[in-house]
């Protein structure tokens, strides 16, 4: 069959956008990472893999990597668990299920800057929503965003709330896609409640879990805006995550080559994590059948 050029015509704008604003800048950043570009002075000597070697001995980068890992370890599983729970409630044939889904989705369509500002007020030491509420029970005020032990959990907690809508919608789709015959068979075998969830719903959500886990982990390692708005990497670098660290390296210190090298290491980290997650989920996916 003769293929016409029409499909290529239709994908050309998107492809062009991807190449110009995605692929080319990535390749440019890779190229920059092999030089020591002093952007303000205009000098650019070639250093090969020197910037990558520097990173191996950079405690700041190591700390940022660790912080990102901590954030992902807390925010992704918690976010998934809460989203599954809400999706189970919202996928039932309850009245106004659509309204609930819409309400839970609203944070996802709001500006992250606006949401961060809102949460700054929620976390304020004395007059914030949380502290004002806990004060009613005589609890001591906590300066969530300025105390080393609290700042990262505070950011993770906020991310669970922000990410709830999109995750919930994906889980609702996954739950509604489970064949009713499986539930009928489980019911005949006497499975109810928790057993029904654990033996039918959860295994059948394996592809959904994998998707949410991979995209959630990637997003967690790219965290930037809430850190920029709420903690600026503090207190004492406890929320200095990779996305923010790279920003500071590039646009505060103007070490653009270091930032480029860090960006590529971040790409490698995310790639390895995604590969590991796919590998671990492979066995579960092999046994999966929605048909």
């Amino acid at each position: 069959m003769k293929r016409s050029g029409t499909p290529y015509f239709f994908i050309a704008p998107a492809l062009l956008h991807l190449v110009v604003f995605g692929f080319l800048p990535i390749m440019f950043a890779l190229w920059v990472s092999f030089f020591d570009w002093k952007i303000l002075k205009g000098t650019m000597p070639f250093v090969g893999l020197g910037k990558y070697q520097e990173l191996m001995n950079d405690p700041g980068f190591g700390n940022a990597l660790l912080n990102s890992a901590k954030y992902a370890l807390v925010s992704v599983p918690t976010g998934m668990a809460v989203a599954v729970l809400v999706a189970l409630l919202a996928s039932d044939q309850i009245r106004a299920a659509g309204l609930f889904r819409t309400v839970y989705y609203i944070p996802a369509v709001c500006s992250t800057v606006a949401i961060s500002m809102l949460w700054i007020y929620v976390y304020l030491p004395e007059n914030g929503l949380i502290n004002a509420t806990t004060a009613l029970f005589g609890l001591k005020s906590v300066d969530f965003l300025n105390e080393q032990g609290w700042a990262m959990p505070a950011l993770a907690f906020m991310s669970v709330w922000v990410g709830l809508g999109p995750r919930m919608i994906i889980y609702v789709a996954g739950i509604l896609g489970i064949p009713p015959s499986l539930y009928e068979a489980a019911e005949l075998d006497g499975a109810r409640g928790w057993r029904r969830f654990w033996s039918v719903t959860w295994p059948m959500l394996a592809p959904t879990n994998l998707f949410v886990l991979v995209t959630g982990t990637i997003a967690a390692f790219q965290l930037f805006t809430p850190v920029y708005m709420m903690t600026r990497g503090g207190p004492l670098d406890s929320t200095d995550v990779l996305g923010y660290h790279i920003y500071v390296e590039s646009w505060k210190k103007f070490h653009v080559s270091n930032a480029s090298a860090q960006s590529f290491l971040l790409l490698v980290v995310i790639g390895v994590l995604a590969a590991v997650q796919f590998k671990l989920a492979k066995r579960q996916l092999e046994g999966y059948s929605a048909g």
Binding site: I39, L40, K41, L124, P125, E126, N127, S141, D143, N146, E147, Q148, G234, P235, L236, D237, W251, K252, K253, F254, H255, N258
Partner: protein, 425 residues
């Protein structure tokens, strides 16, 4: 429509862009970078906009395109990136604290030739050490607008209540501690301390030490030297040992300005604070007294944070830009601009003219002017990337006050990190 009419219409339509081009070629668009967001509608920004419009009215054909950038650090980043992209604004507001990064990277035009040529302008009208902030040998990179030395604000009513005399001249670290102890009582601290390095670095200076070596090249042996450790230990003791200042989390937990709300009796801050204090109705402005910083040296020394106007090196209309700088720095404009009360005017005549009116106000303004000759420029005016030094300093203070890290260890760690950062420049 006849053919003739159609041709006439076409000719008229063609003349529109031609006419526009004619207008464009005779007009000059001057891009100005200044702090502040687009949505800011305070009295101060209304006045600034009014002054811009007056310049345009006085210079037909010149259009000012103002680019407001919110946030002080974002401002520096944005204008530097404009420079890298070859699109730096023609004129920029230059803060002394970030002067070095602009001057030492060759982004600004030397204004000395304009100053020498223009007989209507004299640098003698300005406080000399304020002018020197943007000077490199014979080159001048900014015309100062205003500045503020950092001072100690005292609540005179609290001092009277505690039977403590408000200092009138030099006072030592011991005098300051003694006053703070006597001023501290239930629900009130003698001193409000904030971990903002531009507000506490002078304590190092007043103990005969510093942050960096005289050439600004290293911090080890200076920031972590014995006299620096002593000064920072003194500050830490105010909070942790003597409890005359709230802990950082206590201060944050109150969520209010302690001095302005009568919960603290002393605070180290600049002239701009006077403008914000006007909003606190419970604080009697007559009771606000400013005094020099305590010192262990024969004479107190403080820092002078300054702002001025500079012209970018690649400015397309330097003559027009110079006209704007002259207009902005003129006595007429500065007399009005200075009424905002944010800072002390860099022009001696305007600053001295402010010594009129209500006695407590005059006393405060006199106190600021008395300090000027001995005030230093900030390190950021001569050391590129000094904002990073301040970040390390603040982290060290956080470590000391929040995590109980010994002063020597925290400062040594900060000094080593600063030197490492400098090595990468």
């Amino acid at each position: 429509m006849t053919r003739r009419e159609a041709l006439a219409w076409l000719a008229a339509l063609g003349a529109v862009p031609l006419g526009c081009r004619e207008f464009e070629s005779s007009s000059v668009a001057l891009r100005l970078a200044n702090w502040g967001g687009a949505g800011d509608d305070s009295d101060y920004y209304r006045l600034v906009k009014q002054i811009y419009r007056e310049f345009e009215a006085a210079h037909p054909g010149v259009i000012l395109k103002v680019e407001g950038v919110p946030g002080s650090q974002e401002y520096v980043t944005k204008v530097l990136l404009d420079h890298v992209a070859g699109a730096m604004p023609d004129v920029m507001a230059l803060d002394a604290s970030s002067g070095a990064v602009f001057i030492d990277n060759g982004t600004l035009m030397d204004l000395a030739p304009f100053v020498e040529k223009d007989k209507a302008f004299s640098l003698g009208d300005y406080f000399p050490n304020v002018v020197d902030i943007a000077r490199r040998d014979k080159a001048i990179y900014a015309i100062p607008t205003d500045f503020t030395p950092m001072v100690v604000y005292c609540n005179a009513a609290h001092f009277r209540e505690a039977g403590v005399a408000v200092p009138t001249g030099r006072w030592s670290f011991d005098d300051f501690l003694s006053a703070a102890q006597r001023l501290t009582r239930q629900g009130r601290y003698g001193f409000e301390f904030a971990n903002w390095m531009p507000g506490w670095v002078m304590f190092l200076w007043n103990n005969g030490s510093d942050v960096l070596s005289p050439d600004g090249s290293r911090a080890t042996g200076i920031l972590d030297g014995p006299r620096s450790v002593e000064a920072v230990q003194y500050l830490a003791d105010l909070v942790l040992k003597h409890r005359v200042a709230p802990s950082l989390s206590q201060a944050a937990a109150t969520g209010v300005d302690l001095f302005a709300t009568g919960k603290a009796s002393m605070k180290v801050v600049g002239h701009w604070y006077l403008a914000s204090l006007a909003a606190f109705k419970d604080l009697d402005p007559h009771e606000i007294v400013v005094v020099e910083l305590p010192t262990n040296l024969p004479q107190s020394v403080t820092v002078m944070y300054e702002a001025g106007q500079a012209i970018s090196k690649n400015c397309r209309h330097p003559e027009v830009a110079w006209e704007f700088l002259k207009f902005w720095a003129s006595q007429g404009v500065q007399s009005r601009y200075n009424q905002s009360g944010i800072a002390v005017c860099a022009r001696k005549d305007v600053a001295e003219a402010s010594l009129k009116g209500e006695p407590s106000k005059v006393a405060r303004e006199e106190a600021f002017l008395r300090i000027v000759p001995s005030a230093r420029s900030p390190w950021g005016a001569s050391v590129e990337g000094y904002d990073r030094v301040e970040e390390f300093g603040q982290k060290a203070m956080d470590d000391i006050l929040k995590n109980g890290v010994p002063v020597q260890a925290a400062l040594s760690k900060a000094a080593a990190a600063i030197d490492k950062e400098f090595a990468l420049r």
